[in-house]
Symmetry: C2
Subunit: 134 residues, 2 copies
Amino acid sequence: MISTKGRYALRVMIDLAEQNSDNFIPLKDIAARQNISKKYLEIIVKELVSNHLLVGASGKGGGYKLCRAPEDYSVGEILEIMEGSLATVACLAKDSDKCPNSSSCKTLPMWAEYDKLTHDFFNSKKLTELIEKK
Amino acid sequence: MISTKGRYALRVMIDLAEQNSDNFIPLKDIAARQNISKKYLEIIVKELVSNHLLVGASGKGGGYKLCRAPEDYSVGEILEIMEGSLATVACLAKDSDKCPNSSSCKTLPMWAEYDKLTHDFFNSKKLTELIEKK
DNA sequence: CATTTGCCTATCATTTTGATAGGCTTTTAT
DNA sequence: ATAAAAGCCTATCAAAATGATAGGCAAATG
């Protein structure tokens, strides 16, 4: 289940892409448009900046903007950052220890198959596809 | 993320299918084989029975067994019962109120697409496929 | 140099997750 | 009958995740 953090992050990215501006967009404006508390968005946006999906600028005239073209963002990378991992089961998460039963686990191949399906789906889904699909 | 309840339920179903017996299998035995606390399994198994995926019998010689052929169970129905819903986002869960923004939501079509992918994957995956794939 | 904006830290309530435990009831083989 | 084997019901619990809210400090620019 995708949490609000992931979904809000996506909405922020879409919002910024739609502004289609070279200026920095104040978080206050995004929060107002998206109807999400600015304070909560700060947490989310900070992560997006530290993972180089956004650039932030302080001061008057500051705010946030994309640092790539919208078509160069995949939904997958946005969600992966906010959710930590898109893995379906714990033993497939990137930082998990290898499960001791993995060699005999009857369900692991299925989870791996589904995991690939998920990653392929979200990684091939570009931000631009969400904008046109108004 | 699939929780332990869903994963344990699947393991119980696989275990029972593998016994390939017409007798009732005691939960104690399943718990021992699967290395899961019997008490915890009771919770899980109860739900499987009330949703008609298993039949239980009390008394000496009692236990649980499948009530259909293994090929007639889909992984999807097992997970759906244990996880409540396989929906990726809350607004796609079966009992959720329709989101007021759904008509203008830019991400909803994507979630719906992924949801279909997920359901198709797990509903077409049969219990038998997990048994052969040792 | 005041304004606008981001940044950092703390706190919070609620829900979900992952169990454990005790004791009661039901069934049935002997 | 009755003991043994099994399920059933209720309560409780700790820990983590979720979804926020709030205050004040720091930085930058017109």
